[in-house]
C-alpha cells in the first residue's frame, strides 16, 4: 500500500466561511499573504498552511503560490 500525502481542499464557493473561521479561531485581525503582504480575501485566497504553529496564508498571484509551494518541502 502506497503512503499518501493528504492535501485538504476547499471549494471556491465555500472559502468565505472557511477563511472567516480561521481568522476568528486564530485571533487574527486579518489574513495577509506571507509573500507579498496583500490582504487575503475570499476572492484572492489560494492556500494556507501551519508552520511552526503560525498560519501562513497565500494569495492567488502565481508568483506567490510558486514561492509557497517551494517552502512546503522545507
Amino acid at each position: 500500500m502506497d503512503m499518501k500525502e493528504v492535501i485538504k481542499i476547499v471549494h471556491h464557493n465555500e472559502v468565505g466561511d472557511f477563511l472567516e473561521t480561521i481568522i476568528k479561531l486564530e485571533k487574527l485581525k486579518e489574513a495577509t499573504c506571507y509573500k507579498c503582504g496583500a490582504k487575503v480575501t475570499t476572492e484572492n485566497f489560494k492556500a494556507l498552511t501551519r508552520k511552526y504553529g503560525k498560519i501562513l496564508f497565500c494569495c492567488d498571484k502565481l508568483e506567490c503560490y510558486r514561492s509557497f509551494t517551494e517552502i512546503l518541502g522545507k
Binding site: K8, I9, K46, R50, K51, G73
Partner: protein, 372 residues
C-alpha cells in the same frame, strides 16, 4: 478503424456459419471480458478514482449540483495524478507518496483549524480543472520529492528540478491541455525571469532528455539525502550536489568520440557510469574494454555503477545482423558483470530517449551496487 470493421465482419461470418450457438458463445466471452475489465478497475484504486471522476463529471454536467462537482474534481485529480506518478520512474520506484485529496466541506469549514504542516488549497470550478490539477501537482512534487536535500541546494537549482518534475508528471497524464496550461502559465514565465534558474534549467533539461534525471540524478539525490540526514548544511555539500549535476550534464551533452569524466567521487557521493553506446566499439572490440572499465571502478571503491546502454534504432533498419549482435554483446556484458563480480543489481530500466543529435534511441539503465 478497418481493424474494428474486420473484427465485426469476422464475428458476423462466425455467427452466420455456426448460428445461435456462436451467438451465445460470443455473448459469454463478452460478458467475461467485461467482468475482468471492471474487476481490474475496482482493484486499482487510482483507476477507480478516474472512473468515478468520469461518472461524477456526467452527473455534474446534467445536474450542476455542487456535491457532484466536488466529487468529480477530487476523484479526477487523485486518479490522474496518481496514475501519472506510477508511470514516472524514480529509480525503480515512483514518486515516494501518492496523493489523497479531502474536501473541507461546508459544515467542517465553520470549525476547521489546520494542524502543523497541514495544507489547504482552494480549488476553482470544474470548468478550469486543468488549473486545479496543476496546483496540486506542484504541491505533490514540493512535498514528496528531493526530501532531505532542499535545505542544501540553491533556490535556482531547486526550482529547476521542481519545474521539470512537475512537467514530467503532467506529461504522464497525457492530456495536452493540462501540459500546455502549465508550460504557458507556470514553466516558461518562471524560467525567463532569472538567468541562474535558466542556466540550471537548461542543464536539468539536457540530463532529462537523455533519460538520466529521474533514473540517475534523483536516485542519487535521494541516497544523498538519507546519507546526510540530520547534518548541518556545509558549502561542501552544496558543491557536491552542483558538481554532480555538472558531471551528468557533461555526460548528457557528450558527442561521439568526445571524452567526459565517467566517475564522480566525493566525500558523500561515489558513482561511476559505463556507457555502452558506440556501436563500432561494441561490435569490433567486444565486451573486454567495458569489463576493464568496470574493474577500474570497483578498484576505486565506487558505491553505485550505472551501465547505460544506448542502441541505435536505425541499426536494425540497415543491418539487422549487426543490430542483433550488438544486443547480444550487451547481454553478454551484463551476464559477465553479474557472474564475475560481487555486485547486486539494484534496478534495470528500459526506456527511449533522444541523443545529443536529437535522434531517438532505445536505452537501458542498470544500477549495480558493488559489495566490498
Amino acid at each position: 478503424m478497418f481493424e474494428i470493421l474486420n473484427i465485426f465482419l469476422a464475428i458476423y461470418e462466425f455467427i452466420k456459419k455456426y448460428g445461435i450457438f456462436a451467438l451465445i458463445l460470443i455473448i459469454i466471452v463478452a460478458f467475461i471480458w467485461a467482468i475482468i475489465f471492471f474487476v481490474r478497475i475496482l482493484l486499482d484504486e487510482d483507476k477507480s478514482d478516474l472512473w468515478r471522476g468520469k461518472v461524477y463529471k456526467s452527473i455534474y454536467k446534467l445536474t450542476k449540483k455542487r456535491e457532484a462537482e466536488k466529487k468529480y474534481i477530487a476523484n479526477d485529480i487523485a486518479g490522474r495524478l496518481n496514475l501519472a506518478r506510477r508511470q514516472m520512474p524514480f529509480g525503480e520506484e515512483s514518486i515516494p507518496k501518492a496523493l489523497k485529496v479531502e474536501w473541507i466541506d461546508g459544515n467542517q469549514a465553520e470549525s476547521y483549524t489546520p494542524k502543523e504542516g497541514e495544507l489547504v488549497v482552494k480549488l476553482e470550478s470544474a470548468e478550469t480543472q486543468e488549473k486545479n490539477i496543476v496546483s496540486l501537482a506542484e504541491v505533490l512534487i514540493s512535498r514528496t520529492t528531493l526530501i532531505g536535500i532542499r535545505y542544501i541546494i540553491s533556490e535556482y537549482l531547486e526550482n529547476a528540478m521542481d519545474l521539470n518534475l512537475v512537467k514530467n508528471l503532467l506529461k504522464e497524464i497525457k492530456n495536452r491541455a493540462i501540459l500546455d496550461w502549465y508550460m504557458k502559465n507556470e514553466y516558461m514565465p518562471k524560467i525567463i525571469q532569472n538567468e541562474n534558474l535558466k542556466e540550471w534549467n537548461s542543464k536539468i533539461v539536457e540530463i532529462d532528455e537523455r533519460g538520466l534525471f529521474t533514473r540517475l540524478l534523483l536516485v542519487e539525490l535521494d541516497n544523498y539525502g538519507k546519507k546526510i540526514a540530520g547534518r548541518l548544511k556545509t558549502p561542501e555539500m552544496e558543491s557536491e550536489i552542483e558538481n554532480l549535476i555538472e558531471f551528468l550534464y557533461k555526460i548528457a551533452t557528450k558527442t561521439y568520440g568526445e571524452d567526459a569524466p565517467l566517475d564522480y567521487i566525493t566525500k558523500n557521493i561515489k558513482i561511476g557510469v559505463l556507457i555502452v553506446g558506440e556501436t563500432s566499439k561494441v561490435l569490433y572490440a567486444g565486451i573486454e574494454p567495458y569489463v576493464s572499465a568496470f574493474i577500474h571502478k570497483l578498484n576505486q571503491r565506487i558505491e553505485a555503477i550505472y551501465v547505460l546502454s544506448l542502441s541505435k534504432e536505425f541499426l536494425g533498419g540497415y543491418n539487422e545482423k549487426n543490430a542483433r549482435t550488438f544486443e547480444e554483446i550487451q547481454n553478454l556484458l551484463h551476464q559477465k558483470i553479474e557472474q564475475d563480480f560481487q555486485v547486486r543489481k539494484d534496478f534495470e530500466l528500459a526506456y527511449s530517449c533522444t541523443d545529443v543529435n536529437g535522434r531517438r534511441r532505445k536505452a537501458r539503465c542498470i544500477r549495480y551496487i558493488p559489495i566490498y
